[in-house]
């Protein structure tokens, strides 16, 4: 039972890798068509196969949210790790900066920054910019967690013990701090992915995610600007998003308890 969302998501991902359809090809003879064998989720108002677009969106959204989460965790571990390790004025500065940035409304920042971009940038660039922006704002809370972890490790008895054994600082970092930091880093990564997927969905709904004709889960939701008028099959991306977020929420405690 527990594995059902994961299996469905895996199926979706596999099919998205092997199917032959194109997300941008238009079927002019059947515009806004209802679901059929040929188009399981019908076509949109430009005559594009919704199912093919959903499959490609799955691949793009999961991949890019993962990449953004990786980038955010990397940034967070650099900032948080160095701050926790050095302490002193650098630590102070990083903590204050994070506090200030976290006190700003992040969705507002995202919207403003994204809306300030010129309208005629290429779809690929808009996609990259969207996820880069999320990574640039998503490292703040993980950095705090990682900094606190590193601090507590350096104050721990076993690091004192390692120092008493005569271990060098580099050795303490590699052999004593990093193994203990690993579960924290993984947890930050696994929790960031669903956050980014949901944020992208919000941006996409407002039309500020990837530009046409690129499909992402968010940009597919743009079709639902007027939800009361939309066809039921157009809600399929929401099901996919919920499925995926569900999976990642499951992964987190499971992965962490493995270590």
């Amino acid at each position: 039972m527990k594995a059902i969302p994961a299996i469905l998501l895996a199926l979706l991902l596999i099919v998205s890798l092997v199917h032959g359809g194109s997300y941008s090809s238009q079927h002019r003879e059947s515009i806004d068509a209802p679901p059929s064998w040929r188009f399981p989720l019908g076509t949109d108002d430009l005559g594009r196969d919704r199912f093919v677009r959903l499959l490609d969106a799955t691949r793009i959204s999961v991949l890019f949210a993962g990449a953004a989460a990786f980038a955010a965790t990397l940034l967070a571990s650099l900032a948080g790790g160095i701050a926790g390790y050095t302490g002193g004025w650098f630590d102070h500065m990083v903590v204050r900066t994070i506090d200030v940035l976290l006190s700003l409304p992040s969705l507002f920042l995202l919207l403003v920054t994204r809306a300030l971009m010129p309208l005629n940038i290429s779809p690929v660039l808009s996609l990259l910019v969207t996820y880069a922006l999320m990574a640039a704002m998503g490292w703040l809370s993980p950095a705090r967690v990682i900094r606190a972890g590193v601090r507590s490790f350096f104050d721990s008895e076993y690091v004192l013990q390692a120092r008493a054994e005569g271990c060098s600082e580099a050795r303490i970092l590699v052999r004593h701090i990093l193994p203990n930091l690993r579960p924290i880093l993984l947890a930050q990564f696994w929790t960031s992915v669903p956050v980014f997927i949901l944020t992208e969905a919000s941006l996409g709904f407002l039309g500020l995610s990837a530009g046409e004709p690129f499909p992402t889960w968010g940009s597919l939701l743009h079709e639902l600007q007027n939800p009361l008028m939309a066809r039921p099959e157009a809600f399929a991306p929401i099901v996919a998003i919920a499925l995926c977020v569900c999976c990642f929420k499951r992964i987190t405690p499971w992965r962490v308890s493995q270590i």
């Binding site: 390692a162 005569g166 060098s168």
Partner: protein, 292 residues
């Protein structure tokens, strides 16, 4: 003969100056010196200062610290690191938190070795030396799979892996039950005899210190108020604080008329023997007492 270590040290923390005030003591070769004091008297600070680990906690040590003809307080950091673990070993108070939770025991012991030497030592023989099961399976365990007593033995194994000239034990038995405590004390005593390692044994428990230490120094509020041989401390305590410590040793009221079956009576005999014939017989009876 020169002592292994001669210390005349003061230590300050930024928010607590004068934690140690001109604490002066020496440890002879092969000697076990007991350092007794109440919580907050600066016992652990002495351990931290001797290894200059106080610096990593933001503190500062002043004075003179002669160890094998070098003033440790004047050594550059890199050379001091070569002394830690290799020439002076440290056993910490809480064994389970002193072991890295995400490293296996074998890897942990190897870390202590590789801090100063290449290759790998005979780990099984090392385990045997500290009375741990000499099995590869034991080395694969994580700290959470050990008992406190086993963890303490692992720490002792790591502390003596380079056969240091001096071993500092900072309240190593305060987290242990009485039986394990007696076994650990016996282990220290036998390491002292086998390897000739001098031991600085820090504790708040005068009785356990008396059971195996050659000399005892009494620490109160950052100063050593009295230092003498174990027998003299018990026979003829000079300082009021020492007298108070002695008076605080529990006396068993209702066992006095019965025979030696009573553990508490054997405990009090421990003191008598420490006074009369020195520490080794006293230690043995301590072990018997805890086992009975």
């Amino acid at each position: 003969m020169n002592p292994v270590l001669y210390a005349r040290i003061s230590a300050d923390y930024p928010n607590r100056p004068g934690v140690l005030e001109d604490v002066e003591f020496a440890i002879g070769r092969g000697e076990i010196l007991g350092l007794v004091g109440e919580s907050g008297s600066g016992k652990s600070t002495i351990a931290m200062t001797l290894l200059r680990l106080i610096e990593s906690k933001g503190g500062k040590a002043r004075g003179e610290l002669l160890f094998q003809d070098r003033n440790l307080l004047a050594l550059p950091g890199r050379k001091m690191r070569r002394v830690r673990g290799r020439e002076i070993g440290l056993v910490l108070q809480s064994p389970l938190s002193a072991l890295n939770p995400s490293l296996r025991i074998g890897a942990q012991i190897l870390e202590a070795w590789r801090a100063h030497r290449q290759g790998s030592p005979d780990l099984l023989q090392l385990l045997e030396m500290v009375n741990l099961p000499p099995e590869p399976g034991f080395l694969n365990r994580y700290p959470r799979q050990l008992s406190v007593g086993q963890a303490q033995r692992v720490l002792i194994a790591m502390a003596v892996i380079h056969r240091p000239a001096l071993l500092i034990a900072d309240e190593p038995t305060s987290a242990l039950d009485v039986v394990t405590q007696a076994e650990i004390l016996r282990l220290f005593s036998s390491l002292n005899r086998q390897m000739g390692t001098s031991i600085l044994y820090i504790s708040h428990d005068l009785l356990s210190v008396a059971s195996f230490c050659h000399r005892i120094a009494i620490l109160q509020q950052g100063r050593i108020v009295e230092a003498n041989t174990t027998a003299e401390i018990f026979r003829n305590p000079q300082h009021p604080y020492t007298q108070a410590l002695l008076a605080a040793i529990p006396k068993p009221p209702n066992c006095l008329e019965t025979t030696t079956d009573c553990p508490s009576l054997a405990w009090s005999e421990t003191i008598n023997q420490a006074v009369d014939d020195g520490q080794y017989r006293a230690k043995d009876s301590l072990v018997c007492a805890s086992r009975s």
